[in-house]
């Protein structure tokens, strides 16, 4: 009886020690789920989801504090991916957080810009170049199209320009065939 107890206790101590060591030695930095969710999010940092950036939203989704359909730039496609990752049910984009728009970049009308630097302070990815009383301009390549620079502009000189399809970004269409022709054949 006593022997059995000692054996069991010893086993518990050894295994507990091993587990404790492993939890310290192989500790995972950060929450891997948050990273995975963050990787799906489009990184526009627009805050339309109600959180101050993509990472905070990812954290909230991981904790179950936010729905997966609050990211309009990610679109339905993004919601599908989040649903797949988290094993949740797909939901269409919630209207209160905005609607999915075609991808755009901000454009500053340089005739109207007064050089107030307010948009520079608002840009989450430092994609606006300029200085006080100097004309500002957008680095289109870095612009995520978050629209955060629109409200602070006192002279409404910023507009969103949809990104036009170019020869480089053009995509082959999904092959379709004519049903009519099929009937004829």
């Amino acid at each position: 009886m006593l022997e059995a107890l000692i054996v069991m206790a010893l086993g518990a101590v050894i295994l507990g020690g091993a587990l404790g060591y492993a939890s310290i030695r192989f500790k995972v930095e950060g929450d891997p789920l948050v990273e995975k969710i963050d990787a799906i999010l489009p990184q526009t940092q627009c805050g339309q989801c109600g959180f101050p950036g993509c990472k905070p939203y990812a954290e909230a989704v991981a904790k179950g504090e936010a729905e997966i359909n609050q990211c309009p730039p990610g679109g339905d496609d993004g919601v599908h991916k989040l649903a797949d990752l988290l094993g949740r049910e797909f939901k269409p984009l919630s209207g209160e957080h905005g609607i999915e728009k075609p991808k755009s970049v901000a454009f500053i009308d340089e005739q109207t810009c007064i050089g107030c630097t307010l948009c520079i302070q608002a840009c989450p990815v430092d994609a606006i170049v300029g200085a006080a009383k100097q004309m500002h301009t957008i680095v289109a390549k870095q612009c995520t199209g978050c629209e955060l620079c629109l409200p602070p502009c006192p002279v409404n000189c910023i507009s969103m320009v949809p990104i036009a399809e170019s020869v480089e970004t053009w995509k082959w269409k999904y092959p379709v065939f004519d049903l009519k022709q099929k009937r004829a054949a």
């Binding site: 963050d38 999010l41 489009p42 990184q43 526009t44 940092q45 950036g53 993509c54 989450p124 990815v125 430092d126 994609a127 870095q142 995520t144 399809e165 170019s166 020869v167 480089e168 970004t169 053009w170 995509k171 082959w172 269409k173 999904y174 092959p175 065939f177 004519d178 022709q181 099929k182 054949a185």
Partner: protein, 574 residues
């Protein structure tokens, strides 16, 4: 006889080559207008070097390579730049691309040509020259050649393969070039042999071109070049694919994710070899190529065509039949349907294939895949086309990539043999462009994430620095105060009992100093516009000053009066 190898799969479509290879290569006439797209090779879009109104000479550089993975573009003839604007590209999308529109002056006057003494120069300089001469692969992929003229990691190549196979139906431009201008190809091959330090050069030509083989063999003998061998290979589509030709000639199968140079083999198209010869020995940039104009036309033929020539001008030369309804760039297997016949001939245009409903009947509608496996038997890249089809159709792109979608060369063998007549290549092209788009989005998202994180970090750092600065300033003031206090204490060392007034005095002194500084600053800023005034203006100014003095005096008086009337107010005010 050299031992040849076999590649997996392949098909034997009707070759239709005899239509266009009976007439010698003709020079296309000079047209009134040339539209030269700047983006004509894989890689970055060249920067325009000319603007509307500029005069250009034939061969003058009009687009400078943008980065290493890019190639220059040149004026095809002399004339005036009418515009640098967006024009429809020779691309299935029908979208526009930045192009230089040149109005020919009819003189066709060359700019000064500078041949390169390539033997004496370091390889990097030769590569730069090739890049500036706009030499790209003319087999159809238009990969910048200067990146390929490289002996590789081991310092030399075992085998340099010159691709004269030309397996695609209808196309005979390489065939005719080797027959008539074989010397340029062989000389180019010899240059490439020396530049890449290749031990042997194999020029692979499909055995359905006996004239080209004979002509090339005679040229090699006549020129007396060493280590260059003409190798006739069996005719089977797509023997002209780089990997397939390397397999046939050397037996080396380049595995997934590797380059042929890892195995000491490099492959150039025969036309590219000729272009490299002209660029180095004659100093001529790449401004024209041989183009087969064939298909639904009366007199199919090969022409030497300047880049920027409208395809319809070329088609008009060969007499299109009345039922013509489409223009394809390239051959019937791998070609791309053009949005209209007005698009320009570019470096990738090996063939202008004129089509009609009779010549290329509309594909019968697609039937379900029955998994017969015919496509896998025909695939020269050893893929499983039916799996790729399923995954592309279902948009499971990750799986499609796992099945090596990007090893697909879009040769069309699978669709050619498919009993269900599924346009398989269309599905692969769709899946590939979707995957590319996603990768672009992902890399943009990664950049945005990095930049956002950097911004947060920068804001934190700025906050910290500001706090540190303030703390330093506060400490400085405190030290000053302490010093003043110490001085005061030293001044009246007898009165140990009253340190408080000393501190008060020091504070007051600081305030007084600050006020004096402010006053001095105010005085220093004199109004800038009071130097040259008319008497009238001066009078106005004096009047205003007088009024201001009055008002100030009145205010002071009022304040004094209030003070006198209500002494507590003073303490309140203080």
């Amino acid at each position: 006889m050299r031992r040849l190898f076999n590649f997996h799969g392949g098909v034997k479509p009707p070759t239709h080559k005899t239509h266009s290879n009976r007439e010698p290569i003709a020079q296309a006439p000079l047209f009134a207008e040339y539209v030269v797209p700047l983006h004509q090779s894989i890689g970055g879009t060249p920067q325009p070097l000319v603007k509307a109104g500029d005069l250009v000479l034939k061969g003058q550089r009009i687009g400078a390579a943008d980065g290493n993975m890019s190639s220059a573009v040149h004026a095809p003839t002399s004339g005036v730049v009418k515009a640098v604007e967006m024009r429809t590209a020779a691309h299935s999308s029908g979208l526009t691309t930045l192009s230089v529109v040149i109005e020919s002056d009819g003189r066709d006057q060359w700019c000064e040509l500078t041949p390169l003494d390539w033997r004496a120069l370091p390889p990097a300089q030769v590569r730069e020259h090739l890049q500036n001469a706009g030499v790209v692969g003319l087999g159809g992929a238009v990969f910048p050649s200067h990146l390929k003229v490289n002996p590789g990691k081991q310092g030399h190549l075992d085998t340099l393969v010159i691709n004269g196979a030309e397996c695609e139906p209808f196309i005979t431009c390489d065939d005719m070039q080797m027959r008539e201008r074989g010397d340029t190809v062989v000389k180019g091959a010899a240059i490439l042999r020396d530049l890449t330090q290749a031990k042997q050069v194999l020029i692979g030509i499909e055995n359905n071109k006996p004239e080209a083989i004979a002509a090339m063999e005679a040229t090699v003998k006549a020129l007396g070049v060493e280590r260059i061998e003409i190798v006739p290979i069996p005719t089977r589509y797509p023997a002209g694919g780089a990997k397939q030709l390397i397999r046939v000639l050397t037996g080396i199968e380049v595995p997934h994710g590797h380059r042929s140079t890892d195995y000491g083999v490099q492959c150039f198209n025969s036309g590219t070899a000729a272009a490299i010869y002209e660029a180095l020995e004659l100093g001529k940039p790449l401004i024209s190529r041989i183009v087969t104009v064939a298909g639904n036309v009366e007199k199919p033929r090969n022409y030497e065509v300047l880049f920027g020539t409208a395809m319809k001008d070329m088609i008009a030369l060969v007499g299109p039949k009345p039922d013509t309804d489409r223009v394809i760039m390239g051959g019937p297997m791998m070609g791309y349907l053009m949005p209209n016949d007005g698009v320009p001939v570019v470096k990738a245009t090996n063939c202008i294939l004129v089509g009609s409903a009779a010549l290329f009947p509309p594909p019968p509608s697609e039937m379900p895949c029955i998994r017969c496996g015919e496509c896998a038997k025909a695939c020269p890249a050893d893929l499983a086309p039916f799996e790729l089809y399923w995954f592309s159709k279902a948009k499971i792109f990750g799986k499609a990539q796992e099945y090596h979608l990007f090893d697909c060369i879009e040769c069309g063998c699978c669709a050619f043999v498919c009993p269900s007549r599924i346009p398989l290549v269309d599905y692969y092209r769709f899946a590939k462009s979707e995957i590319w788009a996603r990768e672009r989005d992902n890399s943009a998202a990664d950049t945005a994430r990095l930049r956002y994180e950097f911004r947060l970090e920068r804001e934190e750092r700025e906050k910290r620095e500001k706090a540190a600065k303030l703390a330093a300033k506060a400490a400085e003031t405190k030290a000053k105060l302490a010093a003043a206090e110490a001085a005061a204490a030293a001044g009246n060392s007898g009165e140990v009992a009253a340190p408080a007034p000393g501190a008060d005095d020091a504070k007051k002194a600081l305030i007084a100093a600050a006020m004096a500084k402010a006053q001095a600053q105010k005085a220093a800023v004199a109004p800038a516009n009071t130097e040259t005034l008319t008497a009238d203006q001066q009078a106005q100014v004096t009047k205003i000053e007088a009024r201001r003095a009055e008002v100030e005096a009145a205010t002071a008086q009022a304040a004094q009066a209030t003070l006198a009337a209500n002494p507590e107010a003073k303490s309140d005010a203080e």
